[in-house]
C-alpha cells in the first residue's frame, strides 16, 4: 500500500517535471523569434535574458535534453510495465505523437546547427515552420485536454 502511494507520488512528480520542461521549452522556443524585446517582455526585471538569443538557444538545448531523458524513461517504462498499469488513452496517443514529432523536427534543427552541415534551404524552412506549428498544436491540445479533463493514461 505504502509502495503504491510512493508510485503515485513519483508519477505526479514526473508529470510536474514534464510540464515544467514543456513550459521552459515553449518560452525559450518562442524567444528564438525576435518578439520578446519588441513587446517589452524582456524589459520586465529578471526577464532580460529572454532577448539574448544565445542564452535562450542554450537553454532550449538544455531543456530539450531533459525532455529527451523523460521521453526515453516513459517509453521504456510504459513498455516494460505494460501488463501492470493503464493504457494510453486516445488523447494520450495524440499528445505523445505531437511531442514525438516536435522532438524529431527539433533534433533535425540541432543537426542543422552543427558545423559543416548544410541542409537544403527548403528543408530548413519546412522544419522551422513544422516545429513551430507543432509547438502551438501541443499547447492547444494540452489546453483542450485540461478543460475536458482528458488523462494521458487510464
Amino acid at each position: 500500500m505504502n509502495n503504491a502511494g510512493n508510485e503515485a507520488k513519483k508519477r505526479s512528480a514526473g508529470r510536474y517535471l514534464y510540464l515544467l520542461v514543456v513550459f521552459f521549452l515553449t518560452l525559450t522556443g518562442f524567444a528564438q523569434m525576435p518578439i520578446f524585446k519588441r513587446y517589452y517582455i524582456a524589459d520586465i526585471p529578471g526577464l532580460g535574458w529572454l532577448a539574448q538569443f544565445y542564452v535562450t538557444h542554450y537553454m532550449h538545448y538544455l531543456f530539450a535534453i531533459v525532455l529527451l531523458a523523460i521521453a526515453g524513461y516513459w517509453i521504456a517504462d510504459y513498455w516494460l510495465t505494460k501488463n501492470r498499469r493503464g493504457r494510453l488513452t486516445v488523447s494520450g496517443y495524440v499528445r505523445a505523437s505531437i511531442v514525438f514529432a516536435i522532438i524529431v523536427t527539433g533534433a533535425l534543427l540541432v543537426i542543422r546547427n552543427l558545423p559543416d552541415v548544410v541542409l537544403s534551404p527548403n528543408l530548413i524552412i519546412f522544419l522551422d515552420v513544422a516545429h513551430l506549428g507543432l509547438a502551438v498544436t501541443l499547447l492547444a491540445a494540452g489546453a483542450i485536454c485540461l478543460i475536458l479533463k482528458k488523462p494521458w493514461v487510464l
Binding site: 538569443f53 526515453g72 543537426i111 552543427l114 559543416d116 552541415v117
Partner: protein
C-alpha cells in the same frame, strides 16, 4: 603559384568546381560535409589602394537586389520599433547599409618602427557555420554549399535577429519592403535585412564576384577554402604578416592578410553601427553544439533509469511472493 587563383585562372580551374557546386546545391535533403566545396576569398590588404572601385562595382552589379520600399511605411506597434530607412541615403559609402554592402576602412598603425596606412575592404565574412543563417527562425537566411551565406529578400521579415547574432553585426535593415507587408505589418516584422551575398548569382554562372573582378590591384582572390588558407599562410610567412578570418567565429570564408597585427588595425579603424571590428571572435555556435552529444545520451539515460526501476520492482515483488496482478 602566386597568381594561381587570381582572376582569369579562377575562371579556368575554379569555374568547373563552382559550377559543380552550384549544380549540386539544388534542394537536397541529406546533410553534406563540404569543407572542400567551400569557396573562400583572400584579401591581401597590403595591395589595396582604397580606390573604391570594388565599392562602385558592388553597387552597380547588385543594384537590382537593393530595396525599393513603398512609402509611407505602415505604422508599427509598439512605438519603440525603429523605422530604418536608407532609401534617401543611398549615396552613403562610408559604412554598410542596405544599399552599400562593401566599404573601405582606414587604418594607421605603427609596427616594427614603420608607419602603415592601410585600406581594408569590409563586407560579410561568409562564416563557415554562419549564426545569421543557422539561427534565422524562418529559414530566410541560407548557406549555400559553396560557402556563401545570403538572406532571401522574399522571405526575410526584418526582425534583425541575424544582425544581433552576427559577431560583426553585418546585416542592415530597410523598413517598408518584403513579406511582412503582406502579413501583419503593424505587429510583426520590420522590412528586410541586406548584406553582401558574394554575388551568388555570378558565382553560380562561374563568374567572379563584381568586387573581385573590378579591383585594379588584384587585392582579392577566390578559390577552394583549403587552398586559400594554404596560400594565406604562405604569404603571411613570407612577409612576417598576420591572418584574420581563418579561425574567427569558428572559421570564415574571408581570409585577410595584413603586415600589421589585427589588434593594432582594430584599434585604429572607426567602429560602430555599420562599421565592423577586426577583433577576435569566438565560435558563436560552439556552446550549443557542445550540448548536441548530451542530446544523444539523454534518451539512453532515461531508458536506463526505467530499466533500473523495473528491475528493482520485480526484485521486491519476487521477495513478497510476486502476486501483484
Amino acid at each position: 603559384m602566386e597568381k594561381q587563383l587570381s582572376r582569369r585562372s579562377f575562371l579556368k580551374s575554379g569555374l568547373a568546381a563552382a559550377c559543380a557546386v552550384s549544380a549540386s546545391s539544388l534542394p537536397r535533403p541529406a546533410a553534406a560535409r563540404n569543407e572542400t566545396s567551400q569557396l573562400a576569398t583572400l584579401i591581401d590588404i597590403r595591395k589595396c589602394i582604397g580606390c573604391e572601385a570594388c565599392v562602385e562595382a558592388c553597387r552597380e552589379s547588385n543594384y537590382d537586389k537593393f530595396p525599393k520600399p513603398e512609402k509611407p511605411f505602415p505604422k508599427m506597434y509598439p512605438d519603440r520599433v525603429p523605422v530604418m530607412d536608407w532609401s534617401d541615403k543611398q549615396d552613403v559609402r562610408d559604412r554598410l547599409t542596405p544599399y552599400n554592402w562593401l566599404y573601405i576602412q582606414y587604418a594607421e598603425a605603427e609596427h616594427k618602427g614603420e608607419t602603415f596606412y592601410l585600406t581594408i575592404p569590409r563586407r560579410c565574412m561568409h562564416c563557415v557555420n554562419p549564426p545569421c543563417v543557422k539561427l534565422c527562425p524562418w529559414g530566410a537566411a541560407r548557406r549555400l554549399e559553396n560557402g556563401i551565406s545570403r538572406i532571401d529578400s522574399d522571405l526575410c521579415l526584418g526582425g534583425s535577429k541575424c544582425k544581433t547574432v552576427c559577431p560583426w553585426k553585418i546585416p542592415e535593415r530597410q523598413t517598408g519592403v518584403g513579406l511582412y507587408l503582406d502579413i501583419l505589418p503593424a505587429f510583426a516584422g520590420n522590412g528586410v535585412m541586406y548584406k553582401c551575398d558574394r554575388c551568388y548569382n555570378l558565382v553560380a554562372k562561374g563568374e567572379l564576384p563584381a568586387c573581385i573582378e573590378a579591383c585594379p590591384e588584384d587585392v582579392q582572390k577566390i578559390g577552394p577554402r583549403d587552398e586559400i588558407i594554404r596560400e594565406a599562410k604562405k604569404i603571411a610567412q613570407e612577409i612576417d604578416g598576420y591572418i584574420y578570418g581563418e579561425t574567427e567565429n569558428g572559421g570564415t570564408n574571408t581570409i585577410y592578410i595584413s603586415p600589421v597585427p589585427f589588434e593594432k588595425l582594430n584599434q585604429s579603424i572607426e567602429k560602430g553601427p555599420g562599421k565592423p571590428h577586426l577583433a577576435p571572435a569566438e565560435d558563436s555556435m560552439e556552446d550549443g553544439n557542445n550540448l548536441a552529444a548530451a542530446m544523444l545520451i539523454a534518451p539512453v539515460a532515461g531508458i536506463a533509469a526505467a530499466a533500473g526501476k523495473f528491475y528493482k520492482m520485480t526484485q521486491s515483488e519476487n521477495q513478497k511472493g510476486g502476486d501483484r496482478e
